[in-house]
Amino acid sequence: MSKIVILGAGISGHVAASHLRRKLSKNHKVVVVSPNSNYQWIPSNIWVGIGRMKSEKILFPLAPLYKKKGIGFKQAKAISFFPEGDKHEHKPYVLSEFVVGDKKGQQEKVTYDYLINATGPKLNFEGTEGLIPGKNKAYSVCTYTHADHAWEALNALIQDMKKGKKAKILIGTGHAKSTCQGAAFEYILNVEHELHRHNVRDMAEITWIANEYKLGDFGMDGMLLSYGSMTMKSNELVEMIFEDRGIKWITGAAVNKIEEGIAHYENLDGEYKTESYDFAMLIPSFSGHGFKAYDKNENDITEKLFKGFMIVDADYTQKPYEEWSVKDWPETYQNPNYKNIFAPGIAFAPPHSISKPRISKNGTDITPAPPRTGMPSGITAKLVAENIIDSIKNGKESLHNKGSMGNMGAACIASAGFGIMKGSGVSITTFPIVPDYEKYPKTQGRHLGKTFGDIGLAGHWLKLALHYAFIYKAKMRPFWWLIPE
């Protein structure tokens, strides 16, 4: 009998738990430890943030599903890792603290044979002074509660605009190292679309602010893509969309302080500037959770497990951008020091950024962090689950399933406006996510046939179809496993 513990019940943790439960007999225990009571389909938060979808539509409670499927569930948060056990407990364990119910505040040693760390990121709002969701007129759509608050504020502003108020809207990234530009990109296009619907578009000045060097970087160093019969760069595609929508942009901006209606930022020229706004949605930086790890004698061994995020089979050697290789990226997401610990999704420490690092004249590193959200999270979680299943069934370590982001495709179906007949979407796929300059030297590291962009109503339908398909899959309804990650 093996016991697999999964920390986190987001896209990555839930995918891993559901595949493990499906393929392992009931002799083996699958236990999820998460402080959250609900599963949420995060990509649809942007529609909650414009009031076109209720947050109840993007979430469901985990406990009843897990009970029905035979997955153990502890609504608790991980505190620290003991991968060798301790003097009293010979099995490895994670010290966890319950967050609700009669056991609230109590700690438990959750022992395991295999551990999947799918804790995702900490939303590091404190990394930017004054960036607090719902304060200083700045909002977030990173969670459904944040998105609800964002819509309340945006709706109030729309009502003011209907009465004649001119408004400034600022959307983008709120830190020099933020990632998830895609979510902000979707949100700005949806907000612009909604202002048209409310007949107040001409009352608003909309500005994009981001840490990306050029538009369309998306933390992936931009991309060369097919668009219809043309080949264009992603910055040209996004410039075309923004100009057509009348959206201004500020790039290479490290937002470092938020005051009531004012964003302070530094640009790559080393200039310190401000941008005023009436409503802002800024994505924070992501960070690790600051977990500690101890050996059986309770000596601190945090550096064996964590480097901010969790250390996996990546090449973390410090080297200049010119020497970066697609081979630096992990393939199995296994911790090299403790082979029964894995970290798929956002929980693994990337070897470096994907975008070329850029330093301002004042020495500030203004580089988007690499994205690992959504599809890569699901794919890496599934391959980790499959390796664990194979290892249990074969009785020896099996790492046959590999999935480097340098050999994996991803689709970014970006909503550009909600509406069954009036909606729009920007569909972008990229293969691979991390450019492979050895394989594709003439097309900026990407397979041109598999890296394309498209704009139109079909993109909105696709995003909506994915919303329903992935919630169906997450609820583990019949034949859910046929839907790919």
Binding site: G406, F431, W461
Partner: protein
């Protein structure tokens, strides 16, 4: 605001009949790209 997308392009982007076929095409194409497999890089030729 600069009109970067021509009227004809905009018509194609918003016409539900054209977009229905585009939806089918994109669904299949995206499925091939993202579900078409993944692997390692270190032993790749």
């Amino acid at each position: 605001m600069t009109e970067r997308i021509s009227g004809y392009q905009r018509f194609k982007m918003t016409n539900p009949i054209i977009q229905f076929f585009k939806f089918i095409y994109l669904s299949i194409k995206i499925m091939f790209i993202v579900a078409g497999g993944h692997g390692g890089t270190r032993k790749a030729v």
